[in-house]
C-alpha cells in the first residue's frame, strides 16, 4: 500500500524494482564501511593499547643525570661586560652521569603537588653468564616496593614472586623478552661482574611480562646491588622515575622539576614523540586508502541514480505535470541515495562488528623488537568508529546523489509528454 509520503514510496519502489543493482550498491557501501570501521578499530586499538601500557607501566616523567646548567664555572663572568675567563680543565668531572645526593633531589621533587611517586634507578650494562651462556643485559637497580608503583611488575609476573626480589639482596628479576635469549628459571644462579672486576652471583627470583618490549628487555636487581655493580656510591643513582596523578599536567610538572632540581626531565610523550608521529603518519595513510574504498562506492551510488533518472524521465515529467515541484522530484533521488547509504552503513557496521572480533581473536607471534608486544591484535572498540564511518558513507552517498537528483528536477515535461510535435 502507498506509504504516507508518496515521494518516499516512489523512491523505494524504484529501488526495489532494480533489486540487483540496488543490492550491489548497498554491498559496495557495506564493504566500504566495514573496511573503514575495521581500520579505525585496528589503528586506534594499537595506539590506545600503547598509550595505556606506557601510562600504566612506565614512568610518566624520567629525571635524567644531565644538568640544565653546568656546575663548572664556565660563565663566571658576564661576557657582555667585556670580561672573559679562560678556563682550562685538567680533570674531567666524573660524576656528570649520575644524580648525586638523590634523596635530596627526591625530597625536592616530592614538593610538587601532583607527583605521586618518585623511584630512584641505577642503570648498568652487564654481561651475564649462566652455565655456558653469556649475554649482555640492561640491568636496573631499583627499590622494588617503590618502583612497583611505577612499572607495576607485581601484576605482570609470569614466574616467581615479585616480593622475593626485595627480600633477597642477591635477587634478580628478568623481563620476558630478555629471557627468550637467556632462558633462566626462578632459582637459577647467574654470574655478573662488578665494576671492580669482582664476580657476583645473583639468584633469579621472577620473570615478568608487561607487553612493552622496552621494559621487557630489562633485568632488575636491588638498588644497592646495582650501585655495587656499576661502582656508584650509595647516594648516587642514574635516573629518577616519576609517576604523577594528573597526566594533563605532565609537561608543566616536568618543567617545574627541572627548575627545582637542575636535572633534565622528559615526559613519556616527549620520549615517545618519534614513534607517535610515525604512527600518526601510518594512520593517515591507512585512512586515506580506506577513503577511496568509500569513494568508489559513492560512484556506484551515482551510477544507479543516473540510470534510475534516465529510465524514469517520463514518470518525472508526468509527476511534474500533476503538480509535483522541482524539490519534490529532487527529494526522490536524494532519498534513494540516503536509503542505500543507510542500509549499506548498517550492513557494514554489522560486518565490521564481526570482523573486529575475528581479528581480535587471531593469535599472533609476539616480536622482541617491536614497541608493544601482544599475543593478539589490540582492536579498539568504540561506538564512535561506527558513527563516524556511517556518517561518512551517508555524506559521500548524498553527495553522489546531488547531480542525478538535480538532473531529475530539470526534466522538461513538454518534451516528453506530447504525442505529436
Amino acid at each position: 500500500m502507498l506509504l504516507r509520503s508518496p515521494l518516499l514510496a516512489i523512491a523505494s519502489r524504484q529501488l526495489s524494482n532494480k533489486k540487483r543493482q540496488t543490492f550491489l550498491t548497498i554491498s559496495g557501501i557495506g564493504v566500504g564501511v566495514m573496511v573503514l570501521i575495521t581500520s579505525i578499530s585496528l589503528m586506534d586499538g594499537i595506539l590506545q593499547s600503547f598509550i595505556r601500557k606506557i601510562v600504566d607501566n612506565t614512568p610518566h616523567i624520567v629525571v635524567g643525570s644531565d644538568r640544565l646548567r653546568p656546575l663548572t664555572p664556565e660563565n663566571l663572568a658576564d661576557s657582555a661586560a667585556g670580561v672573559y675567563v679562560n678556563l682550562i680543565k685538567h680533570v674531567e668531572r666524573e660524576d656528570d652521569d649520575v644524580i648525586a645526593n638523590y634523596s635530596g633531589v627526591i625530597a625536592a621533587i616530592m614538593t610538587e603537588a601532583k607527583v605521586s611517586f618518585v623511584s630512584p634507578v641505577v642503570l648498568v650494562d652487564e654481561v651475564a653468564a649462566f652455565g655456558t651462556m653469556t649475554t649482555p643485559l640492561k640491568i636496573h637497580g631499583i627499590i622494588p616496593s617503590v618502583e612497583n608503583n611505577i612499572e607495576r611488575f607485581s601484576t605482570h609476573m609470569t614466574a616467581g614472586v615479585f616480593e622475593d626480589l626485595e627480600r633477597s639482596p642477591d635477587g634478580f628479576m628478568i623481563g620476558a623478552s630478555a629471557a627468550r635469549d637467556f632462558p633462566v628459571r626462578p632459582g637459577d644462579r647467574i654470574q655478573l661482574t662488578s665494576a671492580g672486576g669482582e664476580l657476583i652471583s645473583v639468584r633469579v627470583t621472577g620473570i615478568f611480562s608487561t607487553g612493552l618490549n622496552e621494559v621487557d628487555n630489562n633485568c632488575y636487581v636491588n638498588l644497592r646491588m646495582a650501585q655495587i655493580l656499576g661502582g656508584f656510591s650509595s647516594s648516587q643513582v642514574s635516573k629518577l622515575y616519576v609517576r604523577v596523578n594528573d597526566l594533563e599536567a605532565n609537561t608543566s610538572i616536568a618543567r617545574s622539576i627541572e627548575g627545582k632540581t637542575n636535572y633534565t626531565s622528559a615526559t613519556w610523550e616527549e620520549s615517545a614523540r618519534g614513534f607517535m608521529s610515525l604512527f600518526r603518519m601510518i594512520t593517515m595513510i591507512v585512512y586515506f586508502l580506506t577513503f577511496f574504498v568509500i569513494l568508489v562506492s559513492g560512484f556506484s551510488v551515482a551510477n544507479v541514480l543516473i540510470t534510475n533518472v534516465l529510465e524514469k524521465t517520463r514518470d518525472i515529467a508526468i509527476m511534474k505535470s500533476m503538480g509535483y515541484r522541482k524539490n519534490d522530484i529532487s527529494m526522490i533521488y536524494l532519498a534513494q541515495g540516503l536509503f542505500v547509504a543507510v542500509i549499506g552503513a548498517a550492513a557494514g557496521s554489522v560486518l565490521a562488528f564481526g570482523m573486529i572480533e575475528i581479528l581480535a581473536s587471531i593469535p599472533i607471534e609476539g616480536s622482541k623488537t617491536g614497541i608493544v608486544r601482544s599475543d593478539h591484535l589490540e582492536m579498539g572498540r568504540s561506538v564512535w568508529y561506527f558513527v563516524a564511518a556511517s556518517c561518512f558513507a551517508v555524506l559521500i552517498s548524498l553527495l553522489a546523489s546531488v547531480g542525478p537528483s538535480r538532473n531529475a528536477a530539470r526534466v522538461n515535461p513538454v518534451e516528453l509528454l506530447r504525442g505529436e510535435r
Binding site: P6, M322, G323, R325, L417
Partner: protein, 233 residues
Amino acid sequence: MNMPLLQLVNIRKELSIHSDGQTISTVILPDVSMEVRRGEFAAITGPSGSGKTTLLYLMGMLDKPTSGSIFLEGDDVTVKNEEELAGLRNSKLGFVYQFHFLLPEFSSLENVMMPMLARGRYPLATARARAQELLHLVDLSDRLNNKPNQLSGGQQQRVAIARALANDPILILADEPTGNLDTKNSELVYRMFQRVNVESGQTIVVVTHDEAFAGKTNRNIHLVDGEIVRDSR
C-alpha cells in the same frame, strides 16, 4: 459572472532549434487569441504540425508562450514562476495524454491518489476513498490493486482519466486521449469525458485526430499552420 475560464491573448510561440552552431527559429503559433468558457467540451483538430498540441500545453501551463498572455479565471499565469504554476496545475488542472503514463510501480488506486498527495491536500484515508470513487466512475472498481501492466490499453487510459479528475480540476486537458485505442475503447473514453462534463460541469479541452470524437463535442476549433481557421460551437 461572465468571465471566461481561460483566455489566450495574442499568443505567439516560437521554437528555437540549435544545429551546426546556428539557431533556427520556427514560429509554431504566430498570433492566437481565443477563450474557453466554463462548462465547454471543446475539441482542437488540425493536421500534424498545425500547433494544436503546443496550444494545449500552453493552456496547461506546462509551456510558456514567447509573447502574449494567458488568463486562468482572470489571473495572468504567464507572469508566474515554476513553483506557482506547479501549484496551479495541481489544484486546477487535470491532464490526459495519448499514452497513459501511469507510474508502473504503483496500483491503479495509488496512481489515482498521486495528485491528491502531492501537496498533502487530502489526508491519506480521504485520498484513498476518493480514488476508489473515481475508479468506480470509470468502471474499474474491480481493478483497484492492479498494476498498469496488468491492465488493457483501454483500462489504463481510464485510470489516467480518473487520475486527471483526482483533485476535482476546473479544466481537463487531453492530448490525443484516444490516439492509441480501438473504436470501442475510444467510445468508452468519450463517454467518460462527456459524463464528467455534463454531471460535474467540468470544462474539457481535447486535442484529437479522431473526427468521430471531435464531431461529438460541443465546440470544434480547427487549426492550420498555427492559426484558427474555424471555431464552431
